[in-house]
């Protein structure tokens, strides 16, 4: 079986994978990082969103081997263990932007990418449009939109010592 090496949440990792092994499978099964979830088989639900070299990517639509040498950040990498939460994570809690929690890691990772591309001052319309790649069945998105707007703003105020990208 081919070998693969990458950096995940700042740690160098490697493993043996089949050519057809998806990045999400490598993360969940080999690295036991189960915060990234699988919700569909057509790359639409967004539960699997991680950052690869600083950019949001659907880990269900990447082969593990495609990430050879890449820097990957998952939801588990946003905050130091025992450290403060990332402002975007805090915002989701503060604004009740989650119910069952299953879409939440992908939502948060996608939200960070919206901030990266569109800045800290996000209006409702922009957030709704930019969430095209993430499906939530529980919240109706109302509070997710509020959470993302607040999280983006707090990131802009210097909140959070650890940026998601790199």
């Amino acid at each position: 079986m081919p070998a693969v090496s990458m950096t995940v949440n700042g740690k160098a990792v490697s493993g043996e994978v089949e050519a057809r092994t998806l990045l999400v499978q490598f993360l969940r099964e080999d690295l036991r990082l189960t915060g990234t979830h699988v919700g569909c088989d057509t790359s639409q639900c967004g539960a699997c969103v991680v950052h690869v070299d600083g950019i949001a990517a659907k880990s269900c639509t990447l082969l593990a081997l495609q990430c050879e040498g890449a820097k990957v950040t998952t939801i588990e990498g946003l905050a130091e263990p025992n450290g403060p939460l990332h402002p975007m994570q805090e915002a989701f809690r503060e604004h009740h932007g989650l119910q069952c929690g299953y879409c939440t890691p992908g939502m948060i990772m996608a939200a960070l990418d919206i901030v990266r591309r569109r800045g800290n001052d996000l209006d409702e319309h922009t957030i709704r449009e930019q969430l095209d790649g993430n499906i939530c069945r529980c919240t109706g998105y109302h509070n997710i939109v509020k959470a993302i707007a607040a999280g983006a703003k707090n990131m802009g105020n210097g909140g959070g010592s650890r940026q998601a990208a790199e």
Binding site: H37, D41, H96, I127, R137, C138, Y141
Partner: protein, 795 residues
């Protein structure tokens, strides 16, 4: 109430305890659980909607790398594993029982829908399992399929199950046919509608999963499962499927990523995983891929209805009549029979004082996935019928929709409807009035004219819904055919150090019970919110409970906690009496302190808890040590949340696209424990209701192929499809539980579809519009539109 409690007590928008693990990726969902030696199950599923199985050849598959075993329905029958069941008996008009076809977990000689499982591969890895599954050779003799519920009873339609003529499960009715007929004969105006309540796929974002493990040393089976009701699953799998004695089966529902009803039912996959784990002595895990979810999760809705409303000259409703065909799919799922009967017909009075109602429902088999409860379960279907009839009647009679409703609202309580339900408390005028204000209905005309100047059509739609939930008083449910009681259980376990664990038979899969239940306990006992933990989901830990669905956890689950807390308080007072050397009757308990009345002698909660367990202040003859009490609470009635939703839309006549420009919801849920969580439930429910009205629809072609079988083809609501919502609350407490709670989980999904369709039909000036009202559907309706006729239908 102390300052601490008011910030975390009943009515406070406390931030959720459960969030930490979800926002950090530390949730533990079923697929996150890994057991040593775990194998993966891959099901071989029928590609045909209706076929005989001539032969299954597993020999090649068995030889594939990593394969532990390959099993079929023949093996299942040899091992005497029983069939899945529907647990709610419905009788037809002629008194005969419903016709429940056999539903084995792996097909026995015949498949009846696409996705029906015929074999299972157990392999070391998922990839190996998939490779081997492709080598299983199934020889089918394809039969003609029938998928349309309106056609499945016709002469010449394929008969799906032996001995079940006309694919008819039951022919049920409710109400007074004669009185209703007489009322229609005397009516000044009759409104008639043909309505299809479109079939939906629940699509919780976490797919269903099951992980079964057999311990040969103790002959114990453990099942981790995405279930909303672990004890019910355990009971059915033990007693009806006959997998194992109940006490030898443990069911664990860990974190579950959404249910909406679809995870209530007992499905073939968990049965097969349990059986296979005992056969192979290896843990067996199955996780649905989304395609499998589309094919095999119980679908929702799928009613074809002809409905009529009879009114007098002043718009007073005299009677309502409905004839419905309910598609239950290829097999009767666990609660399927109840949804189009006692969860539907009994709500046809709506918020209105209707003297006569008659409802007939035929439930039928088709070669499609089984259909069962999905958020609202019967009440969205009822509300759509009632609220469309009322809105169309208003238009036909030239009466303002809000006014027609006001003329017919029930105004005094209790109110016995003609369809079993006795509404105990409500104020429908109050929610309507508040909704009219919030929605600025007065300004609508101006907004409509302004929109028209830009070539857009604005419309306004009402939905004044009521529903029956807080399932349910057990005796009443039993008399209606339920095979189980619908009470709820709670054990309140006070620890020696004063912290409290509450073991609840409910199960949270997004509803925030770890927070809301703790708010109740914290306030009642006067202890910090952080010192209360809620335990659910494990049949080894928690006493029997009925689970979470039917908007029951607060109304019934919390009531059980209240009753247990009553017992805890009573016992704690006894302990305090010994500690304070006073008479039990002189002990008062307030804000976490026990005081001897009229003195300043007191004992703190923590000291009393410790003393209960150290037991030095009393003898065993005087009082048992310990402080732990249980209650099994049976509600005295359903609860009746109700409210008014107003939807304002703007339709683009060039594209047919509907934009929801304003959504107002004013709901009466009785007592609200956490308004933030309640609003979240309303948001989510409305989103699913809008999804039904504008976007979603499970479509089978004539051969029974599910053509809407992925998120590519089935239009799930995305953030840009939905507006933000304006939520208001009114309150009339429920008199049928100690906290006055009505429940809120399903209300949005119940109210919303009618509001949307009422709004669009208002905008485009025609009633000929089916759900989902996609851009194409609306555009086509506009093309076909006739001027709206005031059809005065005299009897």
């Amino acid at each position: 109430m102390t300052a601490t409690n008011s910030a975390t007590g009943i009515g406070a928008a406390v931030r959720r305890k459960e969030d930490f693990r979800f926002i950090t990726g530390k949730g533990q969902y079923t697929d996150d659980v890994v057991r040593p030696g775990e194998t993966r199950a891959v099901f071989v599923r029928s590609p045909h909607a209706h076929a005989k199985i001539k032969n299954i050849d597993v020999s090649a598959a068995k030889k594939m790398p990593g394969v532990v075993d390959v099993l079929t329905g023949v093996d299942l029958a040899t091992d005497k594993i029983g069939n899945l069941i529907c647990g709610w008996m419905i009788h037809s008009k002629d008194g005969s029982p419903m016709k429940m076809a056999a539903h084995p977990a792996l097909a026995a000689g015949k498949v009846n829908c696409v996705g029906d499982a015929v074999a299972v591969v157990i392999a070391d890895t998922l990839a190996q399992g998939r490779d081997a599954a492709e080598k299983v050779k199934v020889d089918y003799e394809v039969l003609a399929a029938v998928v349309d519920p309106a056609k499945t009873q016709a002469q010449g339609a394929p008969q799906i199950h032996a001995d079940i003529a006309r694919n008819t499960i039951y022919q049920w009715h409710l109400g007074d046919a004669k009185a209703t007929e007489a009322a229609f004969a005397a009516a000044k105006h009759v409104t008639r509608l043909d309505i299809i309540n479109n079939r939906l796929v629940p699509n919780a974002i976490e797919p269903r999963a099951a992980l079964a493990e057999y311990d040969a040393g103790t002959d114990q089976l453990t099942l981790w499962n995405t279930t909303q009701n672990p004890h019910v699953s355990r009971l059915v799998i033990a007693a009806f499927v006959g997998m194992a004695p109940e006490h030898k089966l443990r069911v664990i529902a860990p974190d579950v990523g959404g249910g909406f009803g679809s995870k209530i039912f007992i499905y073939p996959e968990e049965v097969v995983c349990l059986w296979a784990s005992r056969k192979t002595h290896r843990p067996v895990k199955w996780v649905a891929d989304r395609t499998e979810s589309f094919l095999t999760d119980a679908h929702g809705r799928d009613h074809v209805t002809h409905a009529e409303l009879a009114l007098d000259a002043n718009g007073k409703i005299l009677a309502l009549r409905a004839r419905t065909i309910a598609n239950l799919g290829a097999y009767m799922s666990t609660f399927s029979s109840s949804v189009p009967t006692y969860l539907y017909g009994t709500l046809l009075s709506g918020q209105y004082d209707i003297p006569s109602i008659y409802c007939e429902v035929d439930a039928v088999y088709t070669n499609t996935a089984p259909v069962d409860a999905y958020r609202g379960a019967g009440r969205p279907e009822a509300t759509f019928v009632v609220e469309r009839l009322v809105e169309v009647a208003a238009r036909q009679m030239g009466i303002e929709p809000a006014e027609l409703r006001k003329r017919n609202f029930i105004k005094s309580f209790p109110h016995q409807t003609p369809v079993i339900m006795a509404y105990d408390a409500g104020d429908y005028n109050a929610s309507l009035k508040k909704a009219l204000e919030i929605a600025d209905v007065k300004g609508f005309g101006k907004r409509k004219r302004e929109a028209a100047r830009h070539g857009k059509l604005r419309g306004l739609g009402f939905s004044t819904y009521i529903e029956a939930c807080g399932l349910a008083p057990s005796q009443a449910a039993g008399s209606l055919g339920a095979g189980v009681g619908l009470w709820e259980s709670a054990e309140v376990r006070v620890n020696p150090t004063g912290s409290v664990e509450v073991l609840t038979g409910c199960h949270a899969h997004g509803q925030g019970h770890e927070t809301t239940f703790a708010q109740l306990v914290s306030e009642r006992l006067g202890i910090p919110f952080e010192n209360v933990s809620i335990v659910h989901g494990d049949t080894d830990k928690v006493q029997f409970g009925m689970g979470t669905y039917g908007s029951r956890s607060a109304a019934v689950g919390m009531s059980a906690i209240v009753k247990a807390l009553d017992k805890v308080e009573a016992k704690a007072k006894k302990v305090a009496a010994f500690m304070l050397e006073a008479a039990e009757g002189d002990i008062e308990f307030k804000d976490g302190k026990f005081t001897v009345a009229g003195t300043d002698k007191s004992a703190a909660w923590g000291d009393v808890a410790l003393n209960a367990y150290i037991a030095h202040k009393f003898t065993g003859a005087e009082l048992e040590p310990g402080l732990k009490e249980t209650s099994f609470y049976d509600p005295t009635n359903f609860t009746f949340p109700a409210g008014c939703h107003i939807c304002e839309v703007e339709v683009d006549t060039d594209t047919g696209k509907t934009t929801i420009v304003n959504w107002t919801a004013v709901d009466d849920f009785g007592t609200v424990i956490n308004p933030m969580i309640v609003e979240g439930q309303v948001h989510g429910g409305i989103a699913q209701g809008i999804g039904q009205a504008l976007l979603e629809g499970a479509v089978y072609d004539k051969d029974g192929q599910l053509v809407s079988g992925s998120f590519m083809d089935y239009s799930m609501p995305h953030a840009h499809d939905l507006p933000s919502f304006n939520i208001g609350l009114t309150e009339t407490k429920s008199p049928s539980n100690p906290l006055g709670i009505k429940g809120c989980g399903e209300a949005g999904a119940i109210a919303a579809p009618a509001a949307v369709i009422n709004a669009i039909t208002d905008a485009i000036g025609t009633e000929q519009l089916a759900m989902p009202a996609t851009a194409n559907a609306v555009w086509s309706a506009l093309k076909r539109a006739q001027p709206r006729q005031a059809t005065e239908q005299a009897a």
